[in-house]
Amino acid sequence: MGIVVDDLQVAIGSRPILHGVHLEVRDGQRVGLVGPSGSGKSMISRAIMGLLPPTAGCTGSIELNGRQLVGLPDAEMAALRGAAVGMVFQNPGTALNPLLTVGRQIALPLELHYELTADEREGRVRAMMRKVGLPDELYGRRPHELSGGQQQRVGIATALITSPRLIIADEPTTALDSMTQRQIVDLLVSLVDEAGAALLFITHDFSVLARATRYCYVLDAGRIVERGRTEALLEAPHTPQARTLVEAARRLTLHVDGTGAQETETEEGR
């Protein structure tokens, strides 16, 4: 069980974005999807979540736990979203509803999918806030009163509150500074593992991917160009597209411990 995407084609209007993508995330696996911006990564996550814009056309197959999602009516997709699949967004500062308090935001999937009393809901939300490291007093605050890292913790708590079997994280750390990035990735990984859920981690940054996943796919211009163990790919990328991404990660970030840091120093020394 898990998610199996096969021969996925997505076009916006007459412009094709994805050309027959295949990828799988099995139960309990953490899988990465890496590619440069504009390669179509986000279209894959949106296709899985049923969040493609109305102008998009989508063919192929997306099976979630054996159930075909392509062509499913929005009402049935909505029943899965936030229950069977949770999603963490790239920019929590704008994705979080500015009118909802932290407590009500995290409680939203519970409200939409489960019949709980207000007390039960609040208990679960406060427990989840502790898990993601949000201080209890933030319960009644609104997003604009939080730091970027805290906002993304709210995003993670919202995605995980219903214990979905699959989490899709679409560039969850891109909007954050590098210290916070590392904390958020580690938090996400530990919570996903603790819940025994599967994770599809989407990023353009190989160095973040190395922390989060064991296996990954490389997407370029709407096609999967390479796949394999993340470590192996990092050490010896086969395709030029993957090589470019790996080199960019080595050059630009400090996340790859050891070699990455040295590379950065030599880069600055030039």
Binding site: R46, A78, F89, N97, L99, P109, R142
Partner: protein, 320 residues
Amino acid sequence: MIKYLARRCALFALALFVVSVVVFLALRVLPGDLATIMAGLNSPPERVAALRAELGLDRPLAAQYGDWIAGLMRGDFGTTMLTGQPVASVVGARVQITFPLIMLGLLIALALGVPLGCASVMARSARARGLYQAVAIVGGAVPALWAGLVLILLFGRGSGLLPILPASGFPQDGWGDPAQAALALVLPAVTVGVIVGASIMRYTRSALQSVASTGAIEMAMACGMTRRRALTHVGLRLAMPQLVSVVGLTFAEMITGVMVIENLFALPGIGSGLVDDLTHRDLIAVQSELFMLAAFFLVIGLLVDLTHRALDPRLGEDDE
């Protein structure tokens, strides 16, 4: 919030003062002597002099301004030349026509524009989206005069359902017979409503799309809402401040904007009244009327700002 309210009201008073000075000076600094214009260009000099003395135009500007403002404070807006009635009561009678017309028109516009705007964002097929687009463009491009005429021909003359022919127009005794008066407003309000509704539709659409582009709608959907529910529950609520601004501006604009409609349907409202006074060169009345209009615009601006405060928790943290 109280600090903000005080500051905003002080700003309102300041703007009102500036407006009064501008309106006052505009009529006196503009080329042409006020008394000569009002008396008529061919009238004898004695008549002009008499009028000048009567209206106090021979006194220093500051004294004239002081008199005018002191009058406004007492609720005395001057008298019209034509009939000698107080400006306040003449304007009051016009407001009784224009205000219900605008309110009814705006209600129709909102009832048409907001659902259509939502629907055009929700539309799935390219054909439906094109259709909504066409409705918005055509509705916005229809000239008020033409739309009004078509409606008159259809319902007034054609079926005779509504007594709107300019000959009957608005009842002479105003709201003496409320049913008759309200009936006279139906067609003009529909004409205004359809045209304004098209622009409300476009504003609703673009406001919703700007909210959607922030990711808040996707987030709500990811939590388990359908697209429709996310748009109507989260999107519309987040677009509310933008819509309130638009409705406020539209409302203010309509006061003079419905002039054509008022003329067409023989409704003696504010817009057509202002034109009447201008053509009769009743400039003292015009001065007070312009001031009242400007004051009304400012009140709407104030209400819009206060509503924004109430709708968006992100505003207002700076003075708490």
